[in-house]
């Protein structure tokens, strides 16, 4: 149990996928302007990343390793993740229309999200077992959502302050992202 707790702290704080591994920066800057889109995206990522972590682990362990095709994992994972996202989109559109309405527009964005691919590859590199892999994927996704929501909260507050002209928009966004990353790196050594 303690091991899982450490893994969780590590994935969310110490090795935050967004702020310290710098994966998935596109949605980090793209959908963090408003709190509600940020939470929507965060939830969609948690959902997909957990599923993708599981499926890719299975594909790697039971398909690529037996055929000694480990070097093809990147392309195989991209294929699997893309298919998975499409598949999930179809299923929830049919089965849970309200959920589809809520997550729908964010799902296609995740198809090509490097954070999802990154987590799948980390799972393999770190030689996690299935349960750990699923748990790690979930925790990483939570870290992603946390960073996104933090960023959105900050960006909403930009409206309150006088920002020099040159810093307006993406510039201040990037500076802020950098500062949050710096702050998060303070967690290093926690685990």
């Amino acid at each position: 149990m303690g091991e899982f707790l450490l893994l969780m702290v590590s994935a969310i704080l110490v090795n935050n996928i967004l702020l310290l591994r710098f994966l998935g920066n596109c949605p980090f800057l793209g959908v963090s302007r408003k709190m509600d889109t940020a939470t929507g995206m965060g939830l969609a990522v948690i959902f997909v990343m957990t599923l993708a972590g599981m499926i890719t682990w299975l594909v790697y362990r039971y398909l690529l390793v037996p055929l000694s095709l480990e070097y093809l994992r990147t392309i195989a994972f991209i294929l699997v993740i893309a298919t998975l996202v499409q598949f999930v989109e179809m299923v929830i559109q049919k089965a849970a229309p309200p959920l589809y309405e809520a997550l729908g527009i964010y799902l296609p964005l995740i198809t090509t999200n490097c954070a999802v691919l990154g987590v799948a590859i980390i799972n393999v590199d770190e030689r996690y077992d299935l349960i750990t892999a699923i748990f790690f994927s979930f925790a990483s996704a939570c870290g992603f959502a946390l960073a996104l929501v933090l960023m959105a909260g900050l960006r909403e507050r930009f409206a309150l302050v006088a920002i020099p002209k040159a810093f307006e928009g993406t510039a201040i966004g990037l500076v802020t992202a950098g500062l949050i990353a710096l702050a998060f790196s303070g967690f290093a050594g926690l685990v």
Binding site: L69, A76, F87, M90, V91, K94, A159
Partner: protein
């Protein structure tokens, strides 16, 4: 290498087979029309249409909730493609534009906070909940300017946003952004369906007006000399300005803030001025008429409520037909109000304009005798409006009422309206204190009666008739017996000769809040009379309504589910005017007609017939300044009138109308009020 290719190919194959199966198994039926429309849209998801993305816009278009040219990004090309899919032709659409609903910028209103560094209205709203004492006014930080995707908004010289109508596409981004809801998407049609809300800056006159006319708006057009704009604005909510400008008892003027320091603005006569200008110019204002919807609506009763309802339904593209029991349209405006107050020629011109909007008229047909609500529905009418008015009158309930020479007040005026001879004797007594009583009195005087007496059981202060009517009647020599009630009518050979009345005293207030008159015994007085006209109230005739299954209230009027919608207990049947409210003033009926037209339009479009919670009702409390300061006294324009000598034996219109100079001067007096703000001296 080969294994690799096979493996990846295999994964791809499995994935595509899986997706293929899934797309069959989890197939969600999408309306082919929606699908086609979605494909015709550019797919930019820009949100300029006001919907969340192209697919919801496509859904709205397919359902008919948005127009085929709703997509602004796609422009004409997309509109034509969408129209082809829907099988309709693009007609000229009434464009929506954003309109700013605040007249006083922070510099001129009561500023409470100064925001250091806050540059966004929404943020300021969150932090300080407003910039001014007024919770609604513009905060002036210009967030609307920065969000407008078409650069159509600028902050003008006075510090308020200004919308460039040529650039505005009506996308609504500013509306969604403004935290004070002072920017609204608007068009003539939208405004004509608008009910004032509590979170909207309105002047006291404007929200008091039962028809909801934008009074400060039209007065400022008159001030600028743009009389056609003024009348266009009036007609957005009131299609009978010629009539109202003459007969309205103007409850708005009671609320005029200028009235607290000097005489109120002569609002109603300014309206008449603008309306007369339109008639005098001979060029009718033709408002935008929506494309035909093919829906038919039966309007029962061609009075102010019915005419108004028909006018607005025609504007919304429906096909109204008015069924009128009397030989001509106008209801009580024609048959109750005498010529000298509202000349028939003027009423005719006004009604002609309404009919010209595409209203069908059938006169001499009455509900109950010739048709029923059921028969109308069978004939293909999709909705019915009941505006049957209050045509019944009540007897005096005293002995001798059967004598020749005793006339009910409404009957007397109706007969005159029908052009019948209504000779009266030398001495006429009118019983009652309402406008009908005074209309009857002044009519008798014009018909040659030498001595016209109005007998009213309370004092002048309680008299429901308009002050101006009482003053004019006094000028014309009508005698008033206040605090008196008839007790007996006496005659010889079946012909009325004498009336006995008793003096009354005012006792405790009754349920209407007026003090109840109590007779003083032993004060009976007999006066000689040739005619007695009883004008003690008008009541709706409701027997035929009951037969049709319309629910009635305990006051024997039509029971409506909600006064603001006019919906009755029957599906698709709406009501308004005197038949619902009991005998009241014309402008109330006009307001009810417009609200009913709004409800019917919603009903015919298959939308929920409701009013927003924030809509102002009769008893809504709104902010008001405690005192009016720094407003100088000014003299009100007096309406020029015929001399009393010229009025005798003539039914010429008494009020002559303001001159242009007078109207411009009067319009200058308006304080252009908002909720709390008004034009003050010495800023």
């Amino acid at each position: 290498m080969l294994t690799g290719m096979i493996a990846i190919g295999g994964i791809g194959l499995v994935a595509s087979i899986l997706l293929g199966i899934a797309s069959k198994v989890f197939y969600v039926q999408v309306d082919p029309v929606v699908q086609a429309v979605t494909e015709a849209l550019p797919g930019a998801n820009c949100g300029a249409c006001g919907f969340a993305g192209c697919s919801s816009c496509a859904k709205a278009i397919a359902k008919g909730k948005a127009s085929p040219d709703a997509c602004l990004a796609g422009g004409a090309e997309a509109a034509v493609a969408v129209a082809q899919i829907l099988g309709v032709e693009i007609e000229v659409r009434e464009p929506d534009t954003a309109r700013v609903g605040c007249w006083y910028p922070p510099e001129e209103a009561d500023v409470r906070f100064v925001y250091d560094g806050v540059r966004d209205c929404r943020a300021a709203m969150l932090l300080f909940s407003g910039s001014k004492l007024c919770p609604i006014g513009c905060m002036g930080l210009g967030t609307c300017v920065s969000v407008c995707p078409f650069d159509a908004i600028t902050i003008g010289e006075r510090g308020l946003p200004e919308v460039n109508k040529n650039l505005c596409t009506g996308c609504g981004t500013c509306v969604a952004t403004c935290p004070k809801a002072i920017i609204q998407l608007t068009s003539q049609t939208r405004r004509s369906q608008h009910l004032y809300r509590v979170d909207e800056c309105t002047a006291p006159c404007q929200r008091t007006c039962p028809a909801g006319i934008d009074i400060p708006g039209y007065i400022s057009h008159i001030k600028e000399g743009d009389y056609r704009a003024a009348i266009t604005l009036i007609k957005e909510t009131n299609p009978l300005p010629l009539t109202c400008g003459r007969v309205c008892p103007h409850p708005c003027e009671e609320q005029c803030r200028l009235g607290r320091v000097s005489d109120p603005v002569n609002i109603n006569h300014l309206k008449r001025f603008a309306a007369d200008y339109e008639m005098g110019s001979g060029v009718r204002i033709t408002p935008y008429v929506a494309p035909h919807t093919g829906k038919k609506v039966a309007i029962i009763g061609g009075g102010p409520a019915g005419l108004t309802c028909a006018y607005f339904l025609a504007r919304y593209g429906h096909a109204p037909t008015i069924f009128e029991a009397m030989p001509q349209l106008g209801g009580m405006l024609r048959y109750g109000i005498p010529e000298y107050r509202l000349p028939k020629a003027i009423l005719d011109w006004e009604i002609e304009g309404i009919i010209g909007m595409g209203v069908e008229v059938k006169t001499g047909v009455s509900l109950g005798a010739d048709l029923t609500i059921g028969s109308l529905q069978e004939e293909g009418f999709d909705a019915v409006f009941l505006g049957t008015g209050a045509w019944d009158s009540r007897g005096l309930g005293v002995a001798g009422e059967e004598l020749e020479g005793v006339l009910p007040g409404t009957r007397f005026l109706i007969d005159r309206g029908l052009g019948k001879e209504t000779p009266v004797g030398e001495k006429v007594a009118i019983i009652g204190g309402g406008n009908t009583a005074l209309d009857a009195a002044r009519t008798c005087w014009r018909l040659g009666a030498k001595e016209v007496t109005v007998i009213y059981r309370r004092s002048r202060k309680e008299m429901p008739a308009n002050d101006i009517e009482i003053e004019e009647a006094e000028k014309e020599g009508v005698i008033f017996h206040y605090l008196a009630a008839p007790t007996k009518l006496m005659g010889e050979n079946g012909r009325l000769t004498q009336l006995e009345y008793i003096v009354m005293e005012l006792g405790e207030p009754d349920e209407s809040g007026r003090r109840r008159p109590v007779p003083k015994p032993g004060t009976e007085t007999v006066i000689p009379v040739d005619n007695v006209i009883a004008a003690i109230g008008q009541f709706p005739v409701t027997g035929f309504l009951k037969d049709n299954g319309v629910a009635l209230s305990r006051w024997n009027t039509i029971e409506v589910v909600d006064e603001k919608t006019g919906a009755t207990n029957l599906e698709g049947v709406f009501a308004g005017g005197d038949a619902v409210s009991g005998a009241s003033i014309a402008v109330e009926a006009i307001g009810a007609g417009r609200r009913a037209a709004r409800s019917i339009n919603l009903y015919l479009r298959g939308e929920e017939v409701s009013v927003p919670d924030e809509a102002i009702g009769k008893d809504t409390d709104l902010l008001d300044p405690e005192e009016i300061v720094r407003v100088p006294e000014s003299a009100r324009a007096r309406m020029p009138e015929l001399t009393v000598d010229d009025r005798r034996l003539s039914f010429k219109e008494v009020e002559l109308g303001l001159t242009e100079e007078m109207a411009r001067g009067e319009a200058e007096r308006c304080l252009r009020c908002g909720l709390l703000c008004y034009r003050r001296e010495g800023r």
